[in-house]
Every structure is written in structure tokens, then in C-alpha cells.
């Protein structure tokens, strides 16, 4: 007969077993909550940064300073100072950035076919920031035809707003591309005439773009002399929903297309929910630990006479501790394994669900979840060990 078998007949850990079960269920739920929080966090990161979920291109944000009432009439306040540009370039979320060069000359568009002419403006950015692919997008000195990219919003405004309201015909993009409005570039007495050719429509940059080479040449020829500081920049970023980015913009009173950064809000909310779930899990874990400790105290208290006699007869405190822990530990292990299996199942299910929406996360729980499971079990073991030791010591 083994010593522990005989002990089993003396110290029944069945006392308050109901409480022990409740605490175990509590422990299981706590572990599940903590693991879910960790897993959601891991998955979210994987969705945002994982190579499988990388969008085909990075996102581009056009950033400018917010014009407030105080700044009206003071255009020098809306430009970026060199040190501000340097600071932006140094931000971690900035993968690449460029100033948007504004024209330092007057522009007039004349569309003879349509019988209208209008004042206009040009801006330019380096080609790598442009979302329109066109072989015509080039200009060199002496070339009469200047390629132009207009925002798609312009054609939509014209077709669906202006044309319909004024009984004018709507134009397809193909038709618009065939137009060749005259361009008159002027500064004081100097004037240059060109032919415009709309080569594409941009969803990215809401301005009328000409090639950088044309802009540099024209600014050189037709400028008033002093170079104009940039008031708009374009930023290439991998993660427009980064809260770091939105916080930075907000802090410096910069504005950009909020549609592109709106996910940062969702992300903030998800982070808060995940933190709340994790926090709740931790609180529950603490309560479970408390109940375990009380359960152990109850068992040891109800058998204090037996424990005293065992110690008197020569049983070592260590022997009794090991026996008592052996009665509880398997339950914790089972709870831990069940929680981990549950999270594995959930993860597998979630990954299948997300895959249907072209979002890819691992089918397996992350290493963090495994580490957390082991850590929680170690914590539970340690707390139990201390409780058993403390309460046995009271009777020796």
C-alpha cells in the first residue's frame, strides 16, 4: 500500500468540492478570456502586418496643414517649414514622402471644342507617387503636348453634377482623353501656349497633375523668382490606420483624407475591447486563485487534527504538501489543456471564416497563447503551493 493511498482515506479533498469545481470553471473561463485577448491581438497584427495580408500597394496620403480662421490670408502659415518636413520624414510610419510642387505661374485652360475657358492650376509629384500608368506620361523641353492627370472626382462632378444640372452632355473618360484643351501658361508679360492631353484619372491625388519635368521647367521660366514653399505633401505609408500616424497628424494639426485613416479608430476600439477582455480575464483569474486558496485552507482546516497527528507520527510537511497538491494539480492541468484546445478550435474556425474574406491568419494559436497558458498554470501552481505550505505550516 502506498503512503498516498492511505492519506487519501484520511484527508478527503472532497470537502467543498463544489467550490473547487466552480473555481476550476472560473479558471477555465479566465484562461479562455486571456487567450482570446492575446489571440485577437496576434491575429489583428497579422492582418495588418502579415506578409500574406499585405495590400498590393502601400497607401498614399496627401497631407496639408489645417487652414483655420486665423490662418486665412496668411499663406505663409500653411506651408511646411524645412524642419517640419524633416520631422515627418523621420516618422516610423513614413515609407516615402514627397512635396507636391505647386505652379508658380498662372494657368488657363481653353477648350475650343466645348467653347469654354477656365482658370486652372497645376501641381506635380514625382512619378512614383502617381497611380496612373500611361506611356504618355512624360514631357521634355520643346514638347508641345503636355500630359495631364485630373482627379476622377472632377469628371464625376462634371458628369453627374454639372452636366445633368445644366443640360449638357456627359462625357466618357475615353472621350475626355481625346480632348486637347489649350494651355496658356503666363507670368506677367511672359506667356507660353501648349496643348493639354488628359492621360488618366487619379483617385489618389486630388489635383491637376503635370509631369514633374514640365513643372520644373515652367517654374524656372515663368516664376516670379522666389521659390514657393510646399503646402501639401504626399506620404507613402504601409499602415494608414496606424494610431501613431493619426496621433502624429492630430498633434501637428495636419489633415489628410480621413477615409483612409478611419480604420485607426476601429483599431483603437478593437484594442480597447481586447484590453477589456484581457483585463476581465485577469480579474477572473485572480478570483479563481483566491477561491483555490480558500478551498485549500478549508481542506487543511477541516483536517487539522489529522494533519497534526500525521506530523506527530513523522510525516514530513513536504510529504503532505505533495499529496495535497497532487489532488488539485491534475484538475488545473486539464483546465489549462481544455482552454488551450478551445482556443485552438476557435482560432481554426476564425481563420477559416477570415480566409473566405481574403484575410489570412494562422490556423494555429500563436506562441504567445502557449506561453500564456504555461505561465498561468505556473502561477496557479505557485499560488497553490504557497497556500498549501502556509496552511500546513500552521499545524506543525
Amino acid at each position: 500500500m502506498q503512503f498516498n493511498e492511505i492519506l487519501k482515506k484520511i484527508i478527503h479533498t472532497g470537502v467543498g468540492r463544489g467550490r473547487f469545481w466552480m473555481a476550476s470553471i472560473g479558471l477555465g473561463i479566465a484562461m479562455l478570456l486571456i487567450l482570446v485577448a492575446l489571440q485577437v491581438h496576434t491575429n489583428f497584427n497579422e492582418l495588418l502586418y502579415g506578409s500574406r495580408n499585405q495590400n498590393e500597394r502601400a497607401d498614399y496620403l496627401v497631407v496639408n496643414k489645417k487652414i483655420t480662421n486665423d490662418m486665412m490670408g496668411k499663406p505663409e502659415l500653411t506651408v511646411f517649414k524645412p524642419e517640419e518636413l524633416k520631422d515627418i520624414a523621420a516618422q516610423p510610419f513614413v515609407e516615402d514622402f514627397s512635396i507636391i510642387t505647386a505652379a508658380q505661374y498662372n494657368v488657363r485652360l481653353e477648350a475650343d471644342q466645348l467653347g469654354f475657358s477656365t482658370l486652372a492650376f497645376f501641381e506635380s509629384v514625382p512619378d512614383s507617387f502617381i497611380d496612373v500608368q500611361s506611356t504618355d506620361w512624360k514631357w521634355q523641353e520643346g514638347q508641345q503636348i503636355v500630359p495631364i492627370i485630373v482627379p476622377r472626382d472632377f469628371t464625376n462632378m462634371f458628369n453627374f453634377g454639372f452636366a445633368l444640372g445644366n443640360n449638357m452632355p456627359q462625357f466618357s473618360e475615353e472621350t475626355i482623353k481625346t480632348l486637347s484643351p489649350g494651355i496658356v501658361v503666363s507670368q506677367g508679360m511672359r506667356t507660353g501656349r501648349f496643348l493639354g492631353r488628359i492621360v488618366g484619372f487619379s483617385d489618389r491625388i486630388s489635383t491637376v497633375l503635370v509631369p514633374q519635368s514640365f513643372m520644373d521647367w515652367a517654374n524656372n521660366i515663368y516664376s516670379t523668382g522666389a521659390a514657393k514653399a510646399p503646402s501639401r505633401i504626399i506620404v507613402k505609408t504601409k499602415d494608414p490606420s496606424s494610431t501613431v500616424l493619426t496621433n502624429y497628424l492630430e498633434e501637428h494639426k495636419y489633415v489628410t483624407d480621413e477615409e483612409k485613416t478611419k480604420y485607426s479608430k476601429i483599431r483603437g476600439i478593437v484594442q480597447i475591447i481586447v484590453s477589456a477582455v484581457g483585463f476581465f480575464g485577469l480579474v477572473l483569474l485572480m478570483f479563481a486563485l483566491l477561491v483555490f486558496s480558500m478551498f485549500i485552507q478549508l481542506v487543511i482546516e477541516s483536517y487539522r487534527n489529522e494533519i497534526r497527528l500525521l506530523i506527530t507520527l513523522g510525516a514530513s510537511p513536504g510529504q503532505l504538501q505533495r499529496y495535497l497538491l497532487k489532488q488539485f494539480i491534475p484538475m488545473y492541468l486539464v483546465t489549462g489543456v481544455v482552454a488551450f484546445v478551445a482556443i485552438t478550435g476557435l482560432q481554426w474556425w476564425a481563420s477559416g471564416l477570415l480566409a473566405k474574406r481574403n484575410m489570412f491568419v494562422s490556423e494555429w494559436p500563436g506562441i504567445m497563447s502557449l506561453v500564456a497558458t504555461v505561465a498561468i498554470l505556473a502561477l496557479v501552481y505557485a499560488v497553490n503551493w504557497f497556500a498549501v505550505r502556509k496552511h500546513i505550516a500552521e499545524h506543525t
Binding site: Q2, F3, I6, L313, G314, S316, Q319, A393
Partner: protein, 216 residues
């Protein structure tokens, strides 16, 4: 293992003890290894108290009790349990069996407390046979008569290695024939271990070849 008493006086019995002569209380006494020691003690002189002091489960005394030159208080709990498993065994006057265990389990508990038992289980059966308690081995401790319980407690004490066996009125519930059987077994087991014992009782007796007798 040498046990030294130095001016030991139980606090609760202080007045009474200081009024009368005692060979033990308030004296310096040394129990040498292997001695068979009889302590004769009239009622109320602190016989059970002494055994509890010697076994170190009561501490309300002045003076000191040293084991191998070290006061009992200097042994930690783990050392104490090691001593109680290997060096000192005990038969309490109130026997202290577990009611929820059978007689056999009560003995086994002590035998297997040490992961390397001193005796195989057959010894239990052999001793039970010699003391005439084989028929009660399966019975619960609660249903045994005092005499049976006393013999079970003696067998339990003999299941472990020891250098000292402390016995507090071990034959009080036994008739002479059974007491003699038990005494013979105890003497044999002590000789086999080269161990000594300290036995307290109310009267004189000739059951053992005592090395020394004290009056408490």
C-alpha cells in the same frame, strides 16, 4: 543518539514539582544510546508530559532537552520528521490511531511513510500474529477495544527504524500474558536495532531488563 535533560521543569506543574523530589524534573539527566530506561511515575507527576517533551510535541517547559547535543528547538520541521521516521518512535498513552483507517492501515501508514520501508508487509502480519491481533487487522480503528488498539499502536511503533522508543504506559490495557508477549517483542526489536527505550509506568515491573530506573 544521546538525550540530555537539563533542569527541565514543566511550566504548568512548576509549584507541585518543586515541592517534591524527582530524579528527572529540574535535574541534569543523560540517557545514553541503547539504554532500557524505566521511569516510574505516580499519577499527576507529569508522566505523559515528559514523554511529549522527549518526543518534542510539547514545549511548555523551562530548562532544555538536547538531542545529540542540540536543543530540540534547533531542529527544523523537516529534520524533526526525519528523526521521527528514522530515529525516534513512540507509543502514546492515548494511542492515537486513525479511526477512519483499519488496524492494518494504521500500521501500514507508519511502515510506508518512509519511501524505503524498514520492514516488508509480512512483518506486520507476523507481529500481529505474535500479539494476537490478526483477527482485527481489517477492522476500523474505531471499533477496536483498548487492548487491541494498544497492541496495534505498539506494532505501528515497531515498523520503523529507531534508536529510541518512547512508551507511555504501553501495557495499561493489557492482561499480564499479553503484556509479556508485547514486552518480549519490544525487547527483541530494540536489541535488533541496538536501540534504547524510555518507558513510563505507574508501578514497578520486571518485564524488561532495565538499565536504569528513575522516579519522576
Amino acid at each position: 543518539m544521546q538525550i540530555q535533560l537539563s533542569a527541565v521543569v514543566p511550566v504548568p506543574l512548576r509549584e507541585r514539582i518543586l515541592q517534591r523530589q524527582s530524579d528527572i524534573w529540574n535535574r541534569d539527566v543523560t540517557f545514553q544510546p541503547g539504554q532500557f530506561i524505566k521511569i516510574k511515575a505516580p499519577s499527576g507527576t507529569g508522566k505523559t508530559t515528559l514523554v511529549h517533551y522527549l518526543y518534542h510535541i510539547r514545549y511548555d517547559y523551562t530548562g532544555s532537552i538536547s538531542v545529540d547535543g542540540k536543543p530540540w528547538q534547533d531542529y527544523n520541521r523537516d529534520q524533526l520528521s526525519a528523526i521521527r521516521q528514522r530515529q525516534v518512535s513512540v507509543v502514546f498513552q492515548d494511542l492515537r490511531l486513525f479511526d477512519q483507517l483499519s488496524a492494518l492501515e494504521n500500521i501500514e501508514l507508519k511502515r510506508v511513510m518512509d519511501p524505503q520501508p524498514y520492514y516488508p508487509q509480512e512483518k506486520t502480519l507476523e507481529f500481529a500474529e505474535r500479539l494476537g491481533v490478526t483477527h482485527v487487522l481489517k477492522q476500523s480503528g474505531a471499533t477496536l477495544s483498548y487492548g487491541e488498539r494498544q497492541r496495534i499502536a505498539i506494532i505501528r511503533a515497531l515498523m520503523q527504524p529507531f534508536e529510541w522508543l518512547m512508551m507511555d504506559e504501553p501495557f495499561s490495557h493489557l492482561d499480564d500474558a499479553n503484556a509479556d508477549k508485547a514486552a518480549r517483542l519490544i525487547a527483541e526489536e530494540c536489541h535488533a536495532r541496538k536501540a534504547g527505550f524510555i518507558l513510563t509506568d505507574l508501578d514497578h515491573d520486571q518485564r524488561f531488563d532495565y538499565t536504569v530506573s528513575y522516579l519522576l
